[in-house]
Point group: C2
Chain length 318, copies 2
Amino acid sequence: MAKASFDLDSLTAGVLRGETRAIARAISYVENPSAERLMLLERLFPHTGRAVKVGITGAPGAGKSTLVFQLIPHFRELGYRVGVLAVDPTSPFSGGAILGDRVRMEDSLAGVYIRSLASRGSLGGLSRGVPPAVRILEAAGYDLILIETVGAGQLQIDVRFVADTVVLTLVPEAGDVIQAMKAGIIEIADLYVVNKADREGATRMRLELRAALELGGKPQGWNPPILLTEALHGKGVDEVVRFIREHWEYQQRTGEWERRRQQQLVWELQALVHETLETRARALTEELFDEATLLRIAQREQNPYPRLLQLWQSVHPV
Amino acid sequence: MAKASFDLDSLTAGVLRGETRAIARAISYVENPSAERLMLLERLFPHTGRAVKVGITGAPGAGKSTLVFQLIPHFRELGYRVGVLAVDPTSPFSGGAILGDRVRMEDSLAGVYIRSLASRGSLGGLSRGVPPAVRILEAAGYDLILIETVGAGQLQIDVRFVADTVVLTLVPEAGDVIQAMKAGIIEIADLYVVNKADREGATRMRLELRAALELGGKPQGWNPPILLTEALHGKGVDEVVRFIREHWEYQQRTGEWERRRQQQLVWELQALVHETLETRARALTEELFDEATLLRIAQREQNPYPRLLQLWQSVHPV
């Protein structure tokens, strides 16, 4: 993205008018660290903060994308303009390596904007591009954002810092509940969907999941529902929508909403600070360890740690 | 870990003597960013760089830990002292949330040291604690390091920057090859293991995998073997060992060894620079965005981006 082509005024105006091309360009800008992205976010900030964000997470093959596709018309009918951000590299939205370039389905339906984000450059799995991309979509008038993320360990945990409601999608398969428990995923979802519920073992999985959730004692407050769906045929999706909305109401009633949003804000700002310093770190590494130095280190003629220690001491005031 | 208890001389000496407790304490130190860890690594550096590192990656349930357990005695017999670093949160070595605290099996066998590392604080999935932990084990006299990492997208790609040989473990399951291709994993392994080969579909999977690998044209140089194992019963493990060693010989013959080690070094140093700045970033975020400021931002009374822009401009010299 050449700097010369960056026109802050027209980009801002285009996003605020909800123009698809402007949104696409704006998201491309904010995916990567730059001063320009901060300027754009500064302009758009007053128009953000109003969307509800739902994270759809789960292992590859659990049917996350199918669920996302099914949720879209339900939320459209409720009057929402729906934005979808797919961070799962195996998502059909993202395309992934098998399709070569990433597929971008922009404005594929009226009132719906679908966009894949690279999971590269991520911190703890969730793409750092997500919170800025959410802001762009908010400023463009989308008020429900679905965030699809691949489900594995850390990745699923981080979606909590972006989403108001986290939906964990599972499929009836022996050992899946145990895997999820071991990975520490089980506690972070607000809603569980056992998809492909026509398969054998769905009801047993629900029982196992309930038992697993109650291992830590009866939940205080929100009791995460476990819903059975056959997303491919749309079965059970209305229940998912009902409970997502119930979860919002619960949070608003209890003040949890504000608390969680505050957390999201901290995470978002921290990520931006990190990225700023990280960009600097890359340049600094090249300065500190040029080709010749690397060669000396590789040949054990030079110890690399004194320079790192010096850097540490220079950035950490005593 | 209280700073007062850090005794650089005795810790260095303990690690060099191969004392289990010293190794455990040293790894704990180097897992997290600090000036002390850099001092320790500086002392140990002259005694490092001699181990061979093998990454064992694959989805949860593919049998990575079983394979690791089976590889240990084979490499012991070849005269290696074996260190194991498990970064997979679902690994039985790590224990994970289900067992409460992480399990550490230290010195469970003569000449073998097993240690789990948190996957938290990771960059792109692989724990940043891995390269420093490898250095500790090297300095303590371990000359073969097995690194077990959970297999999902980015995580599997990063193990390449630490390991001399990457083994991707798969199980015969419909769609697994496709998933791996989509996630861009297929290209990064040096050796493929189709585990649980007694299951239906193992031979077909091997054919699919070979076809997938040849999609991008016949490989130049190293042609990654695809081996069938039943790791639980030790079947096929000797073949895995044979091909791992053959891969080392291939690399040494072709100069690939040096090139790859240089890459590992760059990644390691870059990660340390990153962590240094990241630690600073956390403190800086707290400075820039204290409680009162956050509240004003949450209530839209203050725009957060001017401060971020200021930070950006202060660390990026024009």
